[in-house]
């Protein structure tokens, strides 16, 4: 498998705090990769660096042989990297389908004059965007909620809606920041199934998650961070037995 995303010697400090220190890893195309670690390990900061929400102090991020550092976030999205947020960030006062349409923005063209004059091309584009948004809602099993306001959806459905919005941008890499947080066991199982279906569409998934059962079930490869540094990397089986990981993340073994 070829490498989709390559991270090398990434470093980011906030004032005196080094949030990410010399982190390197690869994300293989078509895989599901997990990024785990205790709270404050720097996972979300790594995500924010990839998506351009923060600027790295040092290091490189290469997506499909293109350097991402310094590229504005909306450009990174149109290059094919989409994300969801740890604390859900939906457009609360808008309907679910309008939320998903936001994802179509970077794949459509119509501007102000098209809005005013409504030429045939603009109407066609609107129809296609709407059709795609509805099909993404169907994909995440939210078709029945299409006209509900985002804020009226249940917590688990809001998380799914965020995924649908990200999928609507036609990403090659989907970044999920704690997708299962606040979900019950049933919803988490459905989420694992959803993530697998996303992978089947040929989309690479990189996720942060605290729910170990989800990570172990869904991910092919796992990177473990602690205090901003990578302490382990490998398939779930080896991570589960790695003494450093057990000590740092799962707690010290009882003697």
């Amino acid at each position: 498998m070829s490498t989709l995303l390559e991270i090398r010697h990434l470093k980011k400090s906030f004032g005196g705090l080094t949030a990410v220190n010399d982190v390197s890893f690869d994300v293989a195309e078509g895989s599901i990769m997990g990024l785990i670690g205790p709270n404050g390990a720097g996972k979300t900061t790594v995500f924010n660096l990839i998506t351009g929400n923060h600027q790295a102090d040092r290091g490189t991020i290469t997506f499909r042989e293109r350097a991402l550092l310094g590229v504005p976030t909306h450009r990174i999205v149109s290059l094919g990297v989409a994300r969801t947020f740890q604390n859900i960030r939906l457009f609360q006062q808008l309907s679910a389908v309008e939320n998903v349409l936001a994802g179509r923005h970077c794949r459509t063209r119509a501007g102000l004059f098209a809005a005013a004059l409504r030429p045939r091309r603009q109407r066609q584009e609107e129809r296609e965007a709407l059709a795609r948004a509805v099909s993404e809602l169907t994909f995440v099993r939210l078709r029945d909620c299409a006209l509900e306001l985002a804020r009226n959806l249940s917590y688990g459905n809001q998380r799914r809606l965020e995924i649908a919005r990200a999928l609507a941008t036609e990403p090659s890499l989907l970044i999920l920041d704690e997708p299962a947080s606040g979900m019950n066991e049933q919803e988490t199982s459905e989420l694992v199934e959803l993530i697998r279906r996303i992978q089947q569409r040929g989309i690479t998934v990189l996720l942060i998650e605290h729910d170990m059962s989800l990570v172990m079930r869904a991910c092919q490869n796992i990177v473990v961070l602690e205090y901003g540094e990578k302490i382990a990397e490998g398939p779930p089986a080896s991570i589960r037995n790695d003494p450093k990981v057990i000590e740092a993340y799962l707690g010290t073994e009882e003697v």
Partner: protein
């Protein structure tokens, strides 16, 4: 647009078209003010209501447009209706220039910066900037507009010019609201970080929202200059910006019919109560406070969902 709204617009059009035939010149002039404020408030609504950018210096754009038209008319004898697009362009350019360095500011910070901008423009006009604005006296002798060889001078004639402009604005802004562009502004208002993270170039849309709103305020300024034939800095005070802000919030932020109703109330209602002399502003202020306590979303709040069930089904089944 929903059927109810279309009917409401139809009824309003008929009533307004007949208004100059039954009302005296004074009340027609009040309606002219309402129309101008409606256009101004709709243009502010694009910035404040749709994109969620707090702008309390909108009178500055109005002023730039009015002065551009006045200068073109008095110095170069450009017919005023021809000067309107230039007024709009000048205001848009001015907005783009001043907004660029401050557009990343959020909420209250942007509000304070725009108040400062409004004051700077007013003071610049008072100080006869470039020797073109006539200082505190302003500019007089602005030519009346003429259309198809017909000279517009009486309030009844201005009425149709102004309200035709209102109608065109309403039509256009409804189209914008129901488009990729309008949605992008809403994403910006709801959550700028999520909008950027969904692929919307937020900095660009903020700037366009500002410029487009300013362009419309500038054209309203041009019409105002033609109607008054004399303009001075006091017509573009901070109070004007506050009034426009009020119209948008009171009427229903982001809602086009709401903003129009807001313009009728804020501009028209004090005229109705002129008999109460000084007490009318007291009543007005109280009404505003009551509104904000009991109906924070405005009189006619935004109809929140843009699509109907049938739209989705149609999109699903289309080839």
């Amino acid at each position: 647009m929903s059927r109810n709204l279309a009917v409401a617009y139809g009824v309003a059009t008929v009533l307004l078209a007949a208004a100059p035939l039954v009302l005296d010149a004074y009340w027609v002039d009040v309606l002219n003010s309402v129309g101008l404020y409606a256009v101004l408030a709709l243009s502010l609504n694009l910035i404040l209501g749709d994109a969620g950018l707090f702008n309390m210096g909108h009178a500055a754009f109005y002023a730039v447009g009015a002065y551009t038209a006045a200068i073109l008319s008095t110095r170069l004898h450009v017919p005023i209706l021809w000067a309107l697009p230039v007024s709009g362009a000048a205001a848009a350019l001015f907005a783009a220039l001043v907004a660029r360095p401050v557009i990343h500011l959020r909420g209250d910070y942007l509000l304070i910066v725009t108040i400062g901008m409004g004051e700077i423009v007013r003071i610049a006009l008072v100080n006869d900037v470039l020797g073109l604005t006539g200082g505190a006296n302003g500019i007089f002798g602005i030519a009346r507009p003429s259309a198809f060889g017909f000279r517009i001078r009486r309030p009844q004639e201005f009425f149709y010019l102004i309200w035709a402009f209102v109608a065109a604005t309403v039509f256009l802004f409804h189209r914008i609201a129901q488009s990729r562009f309008g949605r992008a502004l809403n994403y910006l208002r709801e959550d700028a970080v999520a909008a950027e993270g969904s692929g919307v170039n937020t900095a660009r849309y903020k700037l366009i929202a500002f410029s487009l709103g300013a362009a419309w305020a500038g054209m309203a300024g041009g019409i105002y200059a033609a109607k008054m034939t004399i303009i001075s800095p006091e017509s573009f005070s901070f109070w004007e910006s506050v009034l426009l802000f009020l119209i948008v919030i009171l009427g229903g932020s982001g809602s086009i019919p709401g903003v129009i109703v807001g313009a009728f109330l804020v501009v028209g209602l004090p005229e109705l109560f002129r008999g109460f002399a000084s007490a009318r502003m007291l009543v007005f202020g109280l009404a505003m406070m009551v509104m904000m306590v009991f109906r924070t979303q405005g009189l006619l709040p935004l109809r929140q969902v843009r699509f109907k069930h049938s739209d989705l089904v149609k999109a699903e089944t289309a080839p």
